[in-house]
């Protein structure tokens, strides 16, 4: 059985890989990126998975995914990365997670984008980055 979380991560990987000129690293592949990793790149991995509510064998689950994009260059380059990330996640008509995520009864969206943090280079550091946590809510039967 493929878990819903894996389906969501598969979808994320496909969406990010569709961004032109980006290298994508997922899960374990993010743990020791080669120093010569081509930039810009996106790394993402699940960071938590919690059951919010349970009823008759069905659970409402929240999956948090940490996403980090890195580029060499200016704040404009960083913002381009953020726009590409948010665009890939589908904030408008395009809804790539339809059928995978569940809007809660209270109206909470199935996909919640956390605050993005800009990471400017420290002295000598080659890359700037932007990080955010995205929360997916979905229902799963056990």
């Amino acid at each position: 059985m493929t878990s819903r979380a894996t389906e969501i991560l598969d979808t994320l990987e496909t969406l990010f890989e569709a961004i032109p000129g980006i290298t994508v690293f997922r899960g374990m592949a993010t743990l020791a990126l080669p120093s010569e990793t081509a930039r810009p790149y996106i790394a993402f991995r699940p960071i938590s998975n919690a059951v919010e509510a349970m009823q008759r064998g069905r659970a409402l689950v929240t999956l948090q995914v940490g996403i980090e994009a890195r580029a060499e260059g200016t704040d404009a380059d960083l913002d381009d990365m953020l726009v590409a990330l948010r665009g890939a996640l589908g904030l408008g008509e395009f809804a790539p997670f339809d059928g995978l995520v569940t809007r809660s009864a209270g109206g909470t969206s199935g996909v919640t984008l956390g605050e993005a943090q800009y990471l400017f280079p420290q002295p000598g550091e080659a890359t700037a980055g932007v990080q955010m946590i995205v929360t997916f809510r979905y229902a799963e039967a056990y």
């Binding site: 120093s35 996106i42 002295p123």
Partner: protein, 105 residues
Amino acid sequence: MNPSLTAVFQTAAAQLLAVFGANATYTHDGTPLAVQAVVETTLDQIGAYGERLEARPVATLNRAEVAEPQRGDTLECNGVTYTVDGVLAERSDDYTVVAALRENP
């Protein structure tokens, strides 16, 4: 600190750089200065959700020669020219100062 101890450590820093360092030219505001420098590459881990070891050139300099490297100053050592990117305060002390560098293209 006791002034005589300060002098001892200053002498020690100069002698260590004389042994482990190389002749280099430090240029601030267009004024070149002959110095001793240890230029090496450090590896630092960056990233929270993607962890990468990033190689960075750094230079250790004698504070008696270069008290406070400034961003944009240059260092020429062993035929390579670098631009100072900033001081790494946590790796510096009263006698030596460590500057992060970028190799000039």
